[in-house]
């Protein structure tokens, strides 16, 4: 304690005795604060750029969330209900209409569509084949009921199968995936360059920060400020959103799509919180070399 006070008093006296030294120290401090701020900005930018990279444009992110909210089953139920609503106008029992939905095929189509789209590839549902399959199912039921099918009946059943196939395809091509895929194609290389730029500038500014400070523990002090500042900047908005949850009030229909969107939003917010916690952890770990360097400096 006595030693530290003596050390600080020495500095103060030296600054008072040599004003040029005081100006130089102040300039160093301002430059360090500026560099620390720029490093914070770069960390925040990196976190923001990592979001599309590891969430919005990542196939696994979507598939996991779809699995979590039971998207495929809910979608199958939705299509079954839509088919069932055609039972009265089409003259087929609801059960026959519901059985027309092949849940395994739907699961495959859905996941393949998302996977292909996020890789920038086109996945087209073979509506003609689906229509033919449905048509056969409906015709076989009508025949099992000994119905004398006229040409008009056959044409009407074919029209019904077409409607069902159209609805199925419309539901599989669920909104947002195509747009994300296009964004992915357009922005992917740009994001990569931006991330590389951020990392490069981060290293450069870090070097400068350590370069301008002759005592390294002081540079580390600014480094700690950088990481805590970045943690607050990255974590505060998601923390508020996760506590207040205004996203729950989004009116998105149908329910399974709402659950999926909310799950994606929550996933991104938790991702930012994890990055913020990571920054706090780094700043905490930096305390150890900081103290060590400070002690070494005092002992010199």
């Amino acid at each position: 304690m006595v030693h530290m006070n003596t050390h600080n008093n020495k500095n103060t006296k030296a600054s008072a005795r040599y004003p040029a030294m005081a100006v130089k120290a102040a300039a160093k401090n301002i430059a360090s604060i500026l560099l620390a701020f720029l490093l914070t900005v770069l960390l925040v930018l990196t976190a923001l750029l990592l979001t599309p990279k590891f969430a919005l444009f990542r196939e696994q992110f979507f598939l996991e969330r779809m699995e979590k909210v039971g998207f495929s089953d809910a979608l199958a139920t939705n299509i079954e209900q839509e088919y069932a609503s055609l039972a009265i106008p089409s003259g087929f029992p609801e059960e026959v209409m519901k059985q027309a939905v092949d849940r395994n095929a739907l699961n495959y189509d859905l996941y393949t569509y998302v996977s292909y789209s996020l890789h920038g590839e086109e996945f087209v549902i073979d509506k003609a084949a689906l229509q033919t399959k449905l048509n056969e199912q409906f015709l076989s039921y009508a025949k099992s009921q000994n119905a004398a099918l006229t040409e008009e009946d056959t044409s009407n059943i074919s029209y019904l199968s077409g409607m069902c196939a159209d609805y199925y395809a419309k539901k599989i091509y669920f909104p947002g995936v195509k747009q994300l895929s296009q964004m992915h194609i357009r922005l992917n290389s740009m994001i990569n360059y931006a991330l590389t730029g951020c990392v490069f500038l981060f290293l450069l500014f870090s070097f400068l920060l350590f370069f301008i400070r002759s005592t390294k523990h002081r540079a580390l002090r600014f480094y700690i400020s950088t990481f805590i500042g970045a943690a607050i900047s990255i974590g505060i908005v998601p923390l508020i959103l996760l506590l207040i949850r205004p996203q729950d009030r989004l009116n998105i229909w149908p329910d399974y799509f709402y659950d999926f969107v909310i799950s994606c939003i929550d996933g991104i917010l938790w991702g930012w919180l994890v990055i913020a916690c990571f920054c706090v952890l780094i700043s905490f770990l930096l305390n150890f070399p900081y103290r060590m360097l400070r002690e070494n400096n005092k002992n010199r």
């Binding site: 604060i33 914070t40 900005v41 089409s90 074919s158 409607m163 700690i224 805590i228």
Partner: protein, 224 residues
């Protein structure tokens, strides 16, 4: 020691908070041009707006038609202010044709949900008694299957909470589903236009429609 902690708090609390405030401020300024976009998104997806769009469950609220009305005793004129108008998807009337054994509920709106429960009246047509066309549709294989026996001269009775209206069939027409000339909703005449899929007992989704036209021949007038 005190100085050590004050210096530490300056670097671990004050400086980081200042940094984050500046970053959030700059972020806010950069994103402010998109605030309108966010606000529009909010207004589209938030419940205050959506509440207006949410369909009430069919037949949860009803305006019970006055089935005990005696056509001979009912008022010849009904004041507009006394009428309780139906809201979207609300059951508000009964349609019957005793000759063919038809009796069905009429709903305001013609969604799939409504058509599972009865006959739906198009929102672009008019309430009974206003001297303008009424366009109603229903499923051929359930509620309107009895239309197979319909003939010119038969009478439809439409019972509402403000009166009983009588429509006499003047003609029928079989046409395609997309033939919009089959109904003229701009005409200044009270015509009940009832349509369903045709043929009445076929499998599949029919491409043809059976239209039945019935002119008003009885029922009160609506006055201001």
């Amino acid at each position: 020691m005190k100085k050590f902690f004050s210096r530490l708090s300056a670097y671990t609390v004050v400086l980081p908070i200042v940094f984050s405030l500046i970053i959030l401020l700059i972020g806010g300024i950069i994103l402010s041009p998109y605030a309108q976009l966010a606000s529009d998104f909010y207004s589209v997806f938030m419940p205050a707006h959506a509440a207006e769009q949410t369909m009430p469950p069919v037949a949860d609220q009803t305006i019970t038609p006055n089935m005990t009305l005696d056509p001979d005793q009912q008022a010849q004129q009904v004041k507009l202010s006394t009428i309780e108008f139906p809201t979207y998807q609300q059951y508000y009337a009964n349609l019957r044709c005793d000759t063919i054994g038809l009796s069905v509920k009429v709903f305001w709106g013609d969604t799939n949900a409504v058509l599972r429960k009865g006959v739906g009246q198009s929102l672009s047509s008019f309430y009974p008694g206003f001297g303008r066309p009424l366009l109603m549709g229903g499923h051929n294989k359930s509620f309107l299957s009895s239309l197979a026996n319909v003939a010119v001269g038969q009478v439809f009775i439409l019972t509402t909470n403000y009166g009983e209206f009588e429509y006499t069939i003047t003609g029928t027409k079989i046409t395609t589903a997309n033939d919009t000339s089959a109904y003229d909703l701009a005409q200044q005449k009270e015509v009940l236009i009832l349509y369903t899929c045709y043929p009445l007992n076929a499998y599949g989704i029919n491409a043809k429609r059976l239209f039945i036209y019935a002119e008003k021949t009885g029922g009160p007038e609506i006055v201001d």
